[in-house]
């Protein structure tokens, strides 16, 4: 990586706001910065906080999809059309999607990061498994149908689709179709077992990870996993890379850099 980075804060104005599910909001804004699927941006809400967010829409009319889980995301999900936020990036290494038959597995808000990748692949080659706790929390099912020839959903409580989790559903889908690649994004516990499943079946995979992040620009090391910066070498890692990462699925770090069990 020898390119010089020059990524400054840019103010963007929200021109559309969509409530996807309860507590999950998509904000769209015009911003011409070049970005690839799986990359993220740092979003600053002046006076509140600055947090990393995956891009859920690429192109000139970009978007982020935010789940209200804390102070910063509460402020973000409260923003209305016409409000401003300040962004920098995009950062990180996204998905590298070759030709072939692809299984996409998204849990929680994971589909937000995966959809821009899916939208670059011909629909006939994509099968999608979306996992949620229940029917109400199911995210981006309709949008996924536009880019996938098969969309299946799983819910933990059985309120819709497959009764179980997204990895169990993926396992079932793998038994009836042959995939060249699996893309995954979601809670790390899900990714850990999805990775295991892919390894067992000899299917290459790429997964997008999340860690507490301070600078976002590859300097501070707060997001480092086994020495790899989630903000620079990630957030998307290949199955082979994940195999070598001892912290994957096992350990994260707090704001001080202390070790926490996952």
């Amino acid at each position: 990586m020898t390119e010089r980075f020059m990524v400054t804060q840019t103010p963007v104005r929200i021109d559309s706001r969509t409530e996807e599910t309860e507590g999950v909001v998509t904000l769209r804004f015009d911003w011409e910065a070049p970005a690839s699927p799986g990359q993220f941006i740092m979003v600053w809400i002046p006076g509140v906080d600055e947090i990393p967010m995956s891009l859920s829409y690429l192109g000139d009319h970009k978007g982020i999809t935010v789940k209200n889980v804390g102070e910063a995301t509460k402020a973000l999900t409260s923003l209305q059309v016409g409000d401003m936020m300040i962004v920098r990036g995009p950062y990180g290494r996204g998905y590298h999607v070759p030709k072939g038959k692809i299984l996409v597995v998204g849990g929680g808000t994971g589909m937000a990061s995966l959809l821009p990748a899916m939208e670059r692949i011909p629909a006939v080659d994509v099968h999608t498994a979306i996992g949620a706790r229940n029917e109400k929390e199911l995210l981006f099912e309709e949008r996924s149908k536009k880019t996938s020839s098969v969309v299946r959903v799983s819910t933990d409580d059985g309120s819709k689709g497959f009764h179980g989790n997204a990895v169990q559903l993926a396992k079932e889908m793998m038994s009836s179709a042959k995939y060249d690649l699996v893309l995954g994004c979601g809670p790390e516990k899900m990714l850990f077992f999805l990775h295991k499943l892919c390894q067992e079946n000899g299917i290459p995979c790429q997964m997008s990870l999340e860690r507490y992040m301070k600078c976002g620009g590859g300097l501070c090391g707060s997001c480092a996993m086994d020495g790899k910066r989630v903000c620079r070498e990630g957030p998307v890692f290949s199955g082979n890379e994940l195999k070598e990462m001892k912290e994957f699925g096992k350990q994260r770090r707090d704001e001080c850099g202390g070790r926490l069990k996952l």
């Binding site: 990586m1 020898t2 010089r4 980075f5 020059m6 990524v7 400054t8 804060q9 103010p11 740092m42 600053w44 002046p46 006076g47 906080d49 600055e50 947090i51 401003m84 300040i86 920098r88 301070k214 600078c215 976002g216 620009g217 590859g218 300097l219 501070c220 090391g221 707060s222 480092a224 996993m225 086994d226 020495g227 790899k228 910066r229 912290e247 770090r253 707090d254 704001e255 001080c256 850099g257 202390g258 070790r259």
Partner: protein
């Protein structure tokens, strides 16, 4: 040290794994993140501003605390190159107690953070007073046997006075410079970007200040000087060495160039030396002086 490049404190130095990654990038030695007595979260985001010629940051000394850091030091030691333990405290006694623990963890030298410009009660707030600096160094020197480096701030007109006080108190080397106290205001938000308001400027933007400080320190001191500030290629490293630095530290360059920056700098220096008939890097230290 096998080569004159070191990882600067504050960059990728919080975990054993990230320190190992920097060793892979070719660093000759690694300086840890500055560690304090207890876990500390640091400042809230935004903590970083990216600029055309560098960065401005106000991390606020986040660190897991000295007790938890033993595990990271153990992992980092697998790199097989010297680890310099950076510590910060609010009193000479606190510095000494942290230093003792770092030595116990296997640090081959200590770097005292007397220069962070954005943490209240620490760093630069102590490092601009020659008597305070001398007191801290005496206490630390009495507590450990490994070499003690004092990392100093350029945010004072008394840099030479402070450095001489450190030398007289027994410091084994001076590390200069830390970041320049700075501010970035966002005109759309109409407020400072950094949550701490003030931060420290680093990268090529401060190189001219760093080289000048090293040049002055080389003339004033007998102990070695280690240069830091905007090194990101062999030319900028040689500027520091010719100004009088025996080694250089690289921080912002890790973000701007990549982790391979250390190796790149070293091969560039080697090529320069071969081309110009130098056999030992020490032949170049301070050559810019009359």
């Amino acid at each position: 040290m096998e080569n004159p490049t070191m990882l600067a404190s504050g960059i990728m130095g919080e975990t054993g794994g990230s320190l190992l990654a920097m060793a892979k990038g070719g660093a000759g030695a690694l300086v840890t993140k500055s560690i304090g007595s207890v876990p500390r979260q640091g400042h809230k985001n935004p903590t970083l501003v990216e600029l055309e010629f560098g960065y401005m940051n106000a991390m606020g000394l986040p660190n897991p605390g000295i007790e938890a850091f033993g595990e990271e030091m153990y992992e980092a030691s697998k790199a097989g190159i010297p680890i310099v333990g950076s510590v910060f405290g609010s009193s000479a006694e606190e510095f000494a107690s942290l230093a003792r623990k770092m030595q116990g963890y296997g640090a081959e030298a200590l770097e005292l953070n007397l220069s962070c410009p954005h943490a209240k009660g620490y760093g630069m707030e102590m490092g601009v007073d020659p008597d305070v600096v001398a007191g801290i160094i005496k206490e630390v020197k009495a507590a450990v046997v490994i070499p003690v480096f004092a990392k100093l701030t350029p945010n004072t007109h008394k840099l030479i006075e402070v450095a001489k006080a450190a030398e007289d108190a027994g410091a084994d080397a001076i590390v200069a410079i830390n970041t320049l106290k700075a501010m970035k205001i966002d005109v759309d938000a109409r407020m400072p970007v950094l949550s701490n308001r003030y931060g420290g400027l680093s990268g090529p933007a401060v190189r001219g200040v760093g080289v000048r400080c090293v040049y002055e320190l080389f003339e004033a001191l007998k102990i070695p000087v280690i240069g830091v500030g905007g090194v990101e290629d062999w030319r900028s490293a040689l500027e520091y060495i010719m100004a009088g630095a025996v080694a250089v530290q690289i921080g912002s360059g890790v973000g701007r160039v990549g982790t391979q920056v250390f190796g790149d700098v070293c091969s560039g220096i080697s090529a320069y030396m071969a081309e110009n008939g130098f056999r030992d890097i020490t032949q170049l230290v301070g050559v810019a002086h009359d």
